[in-house]
C-alpha cells in the first residue's frame, strides 16, 4: 500500500507502478462522492467482475459454481420457504452483489475467516459466517454445511477475494459498512421518523414495508415479518447508521448527515421484527446474555413514544421455529 500511495502522490507518470495506481483509479469516483480515501497501509482490493469471470482461465465447472453463487446472492428469494423466510436478498444489504466497499463487501470475510467472532464466542469458518447471515438477516433455516448451495455461496465469496492476501496484517479499506462518528445529539425517534418520511419512504413506503412488483421484491421491507430479525447485525443502531450513511438513499450515498443517519437508523430499528433466534423466552435475559451484541440495539428496551417493550413476543415471522438446529458451539479445550 505504501507503494500505491506513493505512486498516486507522485502522479501517474511512473508507468512502472501503473498496475498499482490503476487499483486506486477505479475508486476515484467514490472519493468524489464523499467516501474516505484509503489510508496508508490499508489493504485495497478490487474484486473481479462477472466479465472477468468469463475471461478467466478457469475450469468451466468452477465458473458454473461461481455463477450459481452470484445468482443465489442477487436472487436469494429463489430459496424462499427453504432457507429464506423473509423478503430480503443478500444483495439487499450488500451493494453491487457484494463487491462494493463500505457495503459489507464479501471478500474480506473470505480472507479473514476462520476467525473468532464475539457474536457467538468462538472461531467461525466462512460457512458458519454464512449460516449466521441466513439465521439472522434472512430469518431463515441455513443451508447445510457442505451443501451445493453453501458451496456456491462460499465459492463466490472466495472468488471475489481473488488475489487478496489471506490473514492480512493490514487494515481493510471499506470493510463492513465503515463507521459513522457518534452523533452530537442522542438519536431521536421523532427526528428519525421525519428523515424517513423525507428520504426513505418514497421507496420503502411510509409503513416501512417496501414494495413488491409482480411478486418480486423491489424495495425491501425494513421491519416486520418480511425483514431481518432481532439478531441480525443490521438491527444494531451503529451498523444500520453506517449502512445508511454510506449506501442510502440508493444512488445518493453520504448525502445524509451523520446525525440523520443515526436518527433514521434508530427509528428503523425501534420497530418490531421477528424474534432473535437466541431468545431464551425472556427478552431481558436474552438482551443481558448477548449484551455485547444488544448493547447496540434497542431490543428488550421500552420504546418511549408508546411504552412498547421491543422484542417481547414469540413471533418468529414466516418460519415455524425459533432457532435453526444447524447452529452449534465448539471448544478446543
Amino acid at each position: 500500500m505504501k507503494l500505491r500511495k506513493l505512486t498516486l502522490m507522485t502522479g501517474a507518470m511512473v508507468l512502472l507502478a501503473g498496475a498499482a495506481s490503476a487499483t486506486w483509479d477505479v475508486y476515484k469516483p467514490l472519493f468524489e462522492l464523499g467516501y474516505a480515501e484509503p489510508e496508508e497501509d490499508q489493504l485495497v482490493h478490487i474484486p473481479p467482475t462477472l466479465e472477468d469471470l468469463e475471461d478467466a482461465d478457469m475450469r468451466p465447472e468452477l465458473k458454473a459454481v461461481i455463477r450459481r453463487g452470484h445468482d443465489l446472492f442477487v436472487d436469494t428469494q429463489q430459496l424462499r420457504g427453504r432457507h429464506v423466510f423473509n423478503d430480503l436478498n443478500c444483495a439487499s444489504c450488500h451493494m453491487d452483489a457484494g463487491r462494493q466497499p463500505f457495503s459489507a463487501a464479501l471478500w474480506s470475510a473470505a480472507i479473514t475467516l476462520p476467525d473468532y467472532r464475539g457474536k457467538n464466542w468462538q472461531v467461525n469458518s466462512l460457512e458458519e459466517r454464512v449460516v449466521g447471515c441466513f439465521t439472522y438477516s434472512m430469518n431463515g433455516k441455513p443451508p447445510e454445511y457442505g451443501s451445493d448451495t453453501m458451496l456456491a455461496i462460499t465459492t463466490y465469496m472466495q472468488w471475489l477475494a481473488k488475489g487478496a492476501p489471506v490473514y492480512p496484517d493490514q487494515e481493510i479499506y471499506g470493510r463492513g459498512y465503515g463507521s459513522v462518528d457518534e452523533p452530537e445529539q442522542e438519536p431521536s425517534y421523532e427526528r428519525g421518523k421525519e428523515v424517513f418520511a423525507q428520504r426513505c419512504s418514497i421507496c420503502h413506503a411510509e409503513d416501512g414495508q417496501g414494495l413488491k412488483q409482480d411478486g418480486k421484491v423491489v424495495f425491501p421491507p425494513l421491519w416486520g415479518d418480511g425483514s431481518y430479525n432481532w439478531g441480525a447485525g443490521m438491527s444494531r443502531i451503529n451498523t444500520a447508521a453506517a449502512f445508511i450513511k454510506h449506501n442510502m438513499p440508493l444512488g445518493q450515498p453520504n448525502s445524509l448527515s451523520d446525525q440523520e443517519a443515526w436518527d433514521v437508523a434508530f427509528y428503523m430499528n425501534s420497530q418490531e421484527r421477528p424474534q432473535d433466534p437466541r431468545y431464551t423466552g425472556d427478552v431481558h435475559e436474552t438482551r443481558e446474555k448477548h449484551a455485547n451484541f444488544h448493547g447496540q440495539t434497542v431490543y428488550g428496551t421500552v420504546r418511549e413514544v408508546d411504552g412498547h417493550l421491543l422484542g417481547d413476543h414469540d413471533n418468529t415471522g414466516e418460519k415455524g421455529f425459533l432457532r435453526p438446529e444447524i447452529l452449534r458451539s465448539r471448544t478446543f479445550d
Partner: protein, 225 residues
C-alpha cells in the same frame, strides 16, 4: 383499438361511470379510463391512438404512454402545468386539462397494453452489452446503480413513482437522461434520477437507451396501475 373507441363512445353516450371499470382515485378524484379516452383525442397526434408514441430520430421523440403508471402520468401532467417539468410542445396540452381530466386520461393510458419501443434497431453488440450491464447490474465503480433497482423487475416499472422504461423509445430515454444531466429536467423525486444521469457518459446513455427500447414487457409486468 377500434372496439375500445366504440366502447368509449358508447359509454359517453350512455353516461359516465356506467362501465365502472378500474376507478382509481388520484388526488381524491375518482378516475374513469373511458372518459379518459375521450380526453385523449387531443393526444393521439403525437402519442398515437394506441399510446405507443413514436421514436423520432434526430428530433423530439414522443414517449410511449401506454402502460405507464397512472400516478406517474398524472404527476407529469401536473408538473407541466405548474412548471416543474418544461416542454414547450407538451405544456399547452397539459394546460388544457383540469384535475379530473388528468385523472381520467392518466387512467386511460395506464390501462393500455405496452407497445414496442423503437430506436434501438441499428446498434452494435458491444453497445447493447454495455446497455444491458447498466440496466441490470449497474456500473458501481461510477456509482451508477442498475436501472432495475428502482424501475423494477424487467425495468417494467415499480409502483406509481418509477415508470416502466423497458420498451420505451430510445430517443426519448436518451433525451430525458441528457436533460437530467444538464438540469433541464428536475422533477424526479429527491433528485434520484439526476444523481445517476450525471454519472453517465454519452456512450452510456446511448447504450442503455438502445438496450431498454428493445426489451419487451409482458402484460403482467406492465400492470403497474
Amino acid at each position: 383499438m377500434k372496439n375500445k373507441h366504440l366502447a368509449g363512445g358508447l359509454a359517453l353516450l350512455l353516461g359516465f361511470g356506467l362501465g365502472g371499470t378500474s376507478a382509481l382515485a388520484v388526488d381524491g378524484l375518482q378516475s374513469d379510463p373511458q372518459r379518459g379516452e375521450v380526453v385523449a383525442k387531443t393526444c393521439v397526434a403525437c402519442h398515437q391512438a394506441d399510446g405507443s408514441g413514436r421514436n423520432v430520430p434526430n428530433g423530439e421523440s414522443w414517449p410511449r404512454l401506454a402502460g405507464l403508471p397512472q400516478a406517474y402520468i398524472a404527476r407529469q401532467l401536473r408538473d407541466y402545468q405548474e412548471g416543474r417539468r418544461q416542454n414547450s410542445t407538451m405544456a399547452p396540452f397539459a394546460n388544457m386539462l383540469d384535475d379530473q381530466g388528468i385523472a381520467d386520461v392518466a387512467a386511460y393510458y395506464a390501462g393500455l397494453s405496452v407497445t414496442e419501443g423503437q430506436g434501438g434497431e441499428d446498434v452494435d453488440d458491444a453497445t447493447l452489452a454495455r446497455g444491458e450491464e447498466l440496466a441490470l447490474r449497474g456500473d458501481w465503480n461510477q456509482y451508477i446503480v442498475s436501472c432495475q433497482s428502482c424501475h423494477g423487475p424487467g425495468n417494467a416499472g415499480a409502483g406509481g413513482v418509477f415508470p416502466g422504461i423497458a420498451s420505451q423509445h430510445a430517443g426519448y430515454i436518451a433525451r430525458q437522461l441528457n436533460q437530467w444531466q444538464k438540469g433541464e429536467r428536475d422533477n424526479d423525486p429527491q433528485g434520484l434520477m439526476a444523481a445517476i444521469a450525471k454519472r453517465m457518459s454519452d456512450e452510456d446513455i446511448q447504450a442503455v437507451s438502445a438496450w431498454l427500447s428493445r426489451q419487451p414487457v409482458t402484460s403482467a409486468q406492465g400492470d403497474t396501475k
